[in-house]
C-alpha cells in the first residue's frame, strides 16, 4: 500500500509540534493523516503555474502609530493565569 505518510513521519512531526503520541494514537493518527493527505492530493489536478498565492484576501500594509507609552496589562494581572509563578515571574523547569 502506498502510504502518503509513515509512522516515522508522524512521530517526527509530533516532535516538532511538541506533542507526544501514545502507540495507539500514533497508529490512529497515521491512518487518519494518510487519508486526509491522500484526499488533499486532489489539489494537484489543478495547474497553478503562475497563480500568485493568497494569504490574506485584502492587501495588508504596515500599520504605523506613534511610539507612545500607554497603559497595558499590569504585572500582577499578567501573572494571575500563570500555572506556576512567584512574586514577579513565571516559573519553568531549570533550563541551564
Amino acid at each position: 500500500m502506498n502510504m502518503k505518510i509513515s509512522q516515522e513521519d508522524v512521530q517526527h512531526v509530533a516532535n516538532l509540534a511538541r506533542l507526544r503520541l501514545s502507540d495507539e494514537e500514533l497508529v490512529t493518527m497515521t491512518g487518519q493523516l494518510d487519508t486526509i493527505l491522500s484526499y488533499v492530493e486532489k489539489l494537484d489536478e489543478l495547474d497553478t503555474t503562475g497563480v500568485s498565492p493568497t494569504t490574506h484576501v485584502f492587501p495588508l500594509s504596515n500599520v504605523f502609530r506613534e511610539d507612545i507609552v500607554r497603559p497595558s496589562l499590569e504585572q500582577q494581572e499578567a501573572l494571575e493565569n500563570g500555572p506556576k509563578t512567584d512574586e514577579d515571574s513565571f516559573l519553568v523547569p531549570k533550563i541551564i
Binding site: 509540534a17 507526544r20 497563480v51 484576501v57 494581572e77 500555572p83
Partner: protein, 484 residues
Amino acid sequence: MQPYELGVEESLRALEGGTLSSVELTKSCLERIEKVDDDIGAFISVDREGALMAAEAADRNRSAGSAGSLCGVPVAVKDLLNVKGLKNTCGSKMLENFISPYDATSVTKLKQAGAVIIGKVSMDEFAMGSASETCAFGAPRNPIKKGYVTGGSSGGSAAAVAALECAASLGSDTGGSIRQPASLCGVVGMKPTYGRVSRYGLTAFASSLDQVGPFARNVADCARMMQVISGWDEMDSTSVQQSVPDFPAALTEGLSGMTAGVPKEYFTAGLDPEVEKVVYNAIEALKARGAKIVEVSLPHTEYCVAAYYIIASSEASSNLARYDGVVYGFRKEGENLLEMYKNTRSEGFGAEVKRRILIGTYALSSGYYDAYYKKASQVRTLILNDFKSAFTKCDFLVSPVCPTPAWKQGEHKDDPLAAYLSDILTLSTNLAGVPGMSVPGGVTSSGLPVGVQLQGTHFAEETLLRAGWNLEQELQLPAGKIDI
C-alpha cells in the same frame, strides 16, 4: 408570553415602552437557563451576578435617558471571545481555568451598547469541528430535536438562541462555524466580511479566515447586532477601515432590480433532497419578492475542502504553539522544559486539535511547504477569482448551507474526512473573505431545521440582510418548536 421569549427588537420595544425592565428580562433568561440548560448544554459558564449588575445598570441608564442600542438585552458570547473576569475555556482542558484579563473588542462594543452578557457558550475545542462534539466539557444538543447535533463550531451560540435562553449571541466563523449551526438549529447567523469586525480578543484559530459574527432569532435582530459589533479597530491591524453602513436601514421591502445567483456546484450529489427542496422553495420566494434568478458557476468549489484544511491547519499549528504551559493555561510538569511542553500539550489538547496541529505542522515542514501550503494558497486565489467572476453576474448567491440537516450525536466520530467534507458549502466563503449568512428556510419531514445560505461580495452585508429579510417576510415560517 414570558420575557425570555422576546428577541432583540421585541425586548427593546418592551424596555423602551416601560412594560419590562432589564432586570426582569435578565432574570427570566437566567431562570430559563436554569430550567433547560442541563438538557441543552449550551452554556459553559453563566454569569448570574455580573448579568444582574449589568441589567441594573442598563435600567438606570435607560431611565437617565442614555440607553445604548442594545441597552438591557441579554446576550451570550462564544467561549473563545474574552470577557473580562469570566473564564475563556475555548472548549479545551488547556484553558479550563483561564480567566480573561480583558475584553475582546466585539465584547467591548456589546457592553458599550448596553447589552447584558449572560454567559459563555459551548463550542468545539478551539473552534475545530462541525458538531460542537470536540468540546472538552460535553456537547450541546439540538434544541429542536433531542439526540441531534447543534452543528459547530459555534453550537452553543446557536443552541442558546434557539432554546430561548438569550435574545442573541456572538460566535465565530472560520469555515462555516456560524452559518452551519445557525442552519441546523433554525436561527439566523451571519459571518461578516473578513476585516469587518475586529478579531482583537478572539482566541485565534486560523487568523486569515476567522471572523466574529452574530446569531439571532430573525434578520432584523441580526442587523442590529451587526451594527453594534462592526467597525475598524486599531487593536486589529487586519480590521478594515471601511465605514459601517446603517444595517437596520437595509431591510427594505422587495428585491426588484436585484439578481440572485444560484451556484450550480452547490447542488451536486450528496445534497439531501429535503435540503434541496427547502432551498428551491427559498429561490421561488426570492423571485416572488422581485429578484431575478440566474445560474452561476464557482468551478473550484470541489477543491475548497482540500485547500481549506491545509491553510486552516497550518495557521492553527502556528497559533496554537502558544499553549506551552508557561504563562497561562494548563501545565503538566516534566523533568525538563521539553518534557513539560510535551506533557502539557499532549494532555491539554483533544484528538481533533492534535490532528490539525499535526496536519499543519506537516504541511509547513521543510520540504513540504510548496506542495501543500503554497499550493493551497494558490488554489485559494482561484476560489477568490470564482467569487469575483460570479459577482459580475449577480448581487448575491443563494444556496444550501450544509448538504444535510442535523445528524445524530456521535455519528461522525471516527471519520474526520467525512466530517470535513460536510463543510464543503461554507469553506469557500472564508477562503474568499466574503460575507455569508444563514436564514431559516424551512424544516425537513422529521422537523429538522434547514437554513438557506446567502453570500455576497466583500462588504455587501447590507445586500445579504436585505435579501435575508425579504426571504423571511415571504416565507413567514412559524417559530421553531423546541423539543424539551
